[in-house]
């Protein structure tokens, strides 16, 4: 059984059916891509899974538990994390502080733990994550002084620092220079080797094709096909959607 399952997810904004009865399943330690043209409902689908939007119908199961309608912070604590298409960081915090914040709520027990500073364990994990990302040099810099690529990388690290089971990456390489994209891809593969499962929404076809085990293609809110990158490349409907032939 999949670690993350979505069944019949639908979401409409007014008259616009953004997502229409989409099913997908992600197996442990898999990298699954979601692709589709602009406005095909990729981001809306992810937001429904993460609890940022409430789906009109359908259920989301994570590790066998129904998480539909739970608030995002509870879903996050269960071990499902998400990054954003445009960077969502904290300009009032340093890189290191962000990485402390990113993990503080996961293993927290009781009220008094919230009133205490971060534990040496958390500090150690944050330092390890800095090394994992290759951001040691900017440890004490405010996040808004980083380059865009570094910010995307840090946001990826923020999601990963709490050792989540599944991470949803929403366009991780959009607007990122090619060198950084290669670095990020390498970090995703390394994290997968350590057991993290990824669901990646992406526009950049080359990036997705070379990285994912399986790809789900959306068009106008519907799933039009699903398969390995090779199968997707040969699928006529996908070619039609993308090339307009």
């Amino acid at each position: 059984m999949g670690i993350l399952q979505a069944r019949g997810i639908s979401k409409a904004f007014g008259g616009l059916q953004a997502v229409d009865g989409v099913d997908f399943e992600v197996e442990p330690a898999e990298i699954v891509g979601i692709i589709g043209p602009n406005g095909s409902g990729k981001t809306t689908l992810c937001n429904c899974v993460m609890g940022l939007l409430r789906p009109d119908s359908g259920t989301v199961c994570f590790r066998g538990q129904d998480i539909t309608g739970l608030p995002p912070y509870q879903i996050s604590r269960l071990g499902l994390r998400k990054t954003f298409q445009l960077v969502h960081l904290f300009p009032n915090m340093t890189v290191f502080e962000c990485l402390l914040l990113g993990q503080q709520e996961t293993h927290l027990s009781g009220f008094s733990a919230r009133l205490r500073p971060h534990s040496p364990d958390e500090v150690r994990i944050a330092i390890n994550m800095l090394e994992f990302l290759g951001l040691q040099g900017v440890r004490d810099h405010l996040t808004d002084s980083l380059s865009y690529g570094q910010q995307k990388l840090l946001e990826f690290g923020l999601a990963l620092v709490a050792s989540p089971t599944v991470v949803i990456l929403d366009e991780p390489v959009a607007g990122v220079n090619p060198t950084m994209a290669v670095h990020l891809r390498d970090r995703i593969l390394e994290a997968r080797k350590r057991g993290t499962t990824f669901l990646i929404v992406e526009h950049e076809m080359a990036f997705v094709m070379g990285l994912c085990d399986r790809i789900v293609v959306l068009n106008q809110g519907r799933k039009i096909c699903e398969g390995t990158p090779d199968q997707i490349r040969r699928n006529e409907e996908v070619v039609e959607v993308y090339l307009g032939v």
């Binding site: 940022l52 300009p91 919230r114 971060h118 290759g134 040099g137 810099h141 405010l142 570094q150």
Partner: protein
């Protein structure tokens, strides 16, 4: 101005800040016996301001919710205490405790709807609460808001001086305690990006409400003592928009979200305010206004916000240069 590296410099840096604080604390402890009555008054006003600013900093500075109505918590506790004393004959200390409690309950009740708003909407909401509550308290006969209440002062000036000093120290310590806690980190995250904070597991609604109630605490503690200090309260005194604005100014001028910010802000504002007021009564509001304009233009992030801090020291600049990490240089 960064400190040079080296063991001596490191040791100096570690003790410099605590030492400076110790000297200031000792100085203000003995001050009432050596300084003029005016200076003692100004110092009291500064301590009062520090307490207000430090409390305000938790919601306005850390969590980023700019309240324009925090004096209602001063008013609520002062009024509750006065009513309990005058109408029910309860002595000051239990009435004071009850006043604090009522103030915190009011904060929780106001916080639940208000904290659903953000930015300007939140600010406007708090202004409405400020004026609305003052009107209600004035209008309800039982509360006698319009006529006001008297307090028996009963203490010498030095008692107030030391009381305000102690609350100032405790309130700043409590914000320091919050700032380094996981809760404080959560508030900083909420400040800049509530959605991302949620995705990282921060229970934002609970944290915001806790911050709001906590930010009312020291203000509520001050209320009844402020009443005794003045010997008389009415809605224009304790439900005063001016006090609400002052709290904002202390944190804004000192540096929003910095633990020591309200201290610096209160020192600057109250010193200028009181000395200018004492000497140039006719133009003191003009001087005050000009000062605010200058701060907004040249130090919009406040005194501390314009300094850059890192664990290795501090400098009068913000790093803007982009640093390429080692791994990326290799790639």
């Amino acid at each position: 101005m960064t400190f040079a590296a080296g063991p001596t410099a490191a040791r100096l840096r570690r003790i410099a800040f605590p030492l400076a604080i110790l000297i200031v604390v000792v100085a203000v402890l003995v001050a009432p016996f050596y300084v003029s009555a005016l200076t003692r008054r100004v110092l009291s006003a500064i301590f009062f301001g520090v307490t207000l600013g430090a409390s305000y900093n938790i919601i306005g500075g850390f969590a980023g919710f700019p309240s324009f109505g925090h004096s209602v918590f001063l008013g609520t506790s002062a009024y509750t205490t006065a009513i309990l004393m005058h109408r029910y004959g309860i002595t000051f200390y239990p009435a004071w405790a009850a006043g604090i409690l009522v103030s915190l309950v009011v904060a929780a009740l106001l916080g639940i709807p208000l904290l659903r708003l953000r930015g300007h909407y939140f600010a406007v909401g708090t202004i409405m609460i400020q004026f609305g509550l003052a009107e209600i308290v004035s209008a309800v006969p039982y509360l006698e808001g319009g006529r006001g209440w008297t307090f028996a002062t009963g203490y010498s000036y030095n008692v107030f001086y030391y009381f305000f000093l102690v609350t100032a120290i405790l309130s700043v310590l409590s914000t320091w305690f919050v700032r380094r806690s996981r809760f404080g980190f959560g508030l900083l995250a909420i400040n800049r990006n509530e959605v991302q904070a949620q995705v990282l597991g921060v229970p934002t609604a609970a944290y915001k409400l806790a911050a709001f109630v906590l930010s009312a605490f020291w203000i509520a503690v001050l209320g009844p003592m402020y009443g005794r200090y003045l010997a008389y309260i009415d809605t224009t005194v304790v439900f005063s928009p001016r006090i609400s604005i002052n709290m904002l100014l202390y944190t804004l001028i000192g540096g929003m979200g910095h633990v020591v910010g309200p201290v610096i802000g209160a020192v600057i504002v109250e010193t200028v305010n009181n000395y200018v007021w004492a000497r140039f009564l006719e133009i003191h509001l003009i001087v005050y206004g000009v000062m605010l304009i200058l701060f907004t233009l040249f130090l919009p992030r406040g005194v501390l916000g314009s300094l850059h801090f890192s664990p290795r020291g501090f400098a009068l600049r913000r790093p803007k240069e982009r640093v390429v990490s080692e791994t990326l240089k290799e790639a």
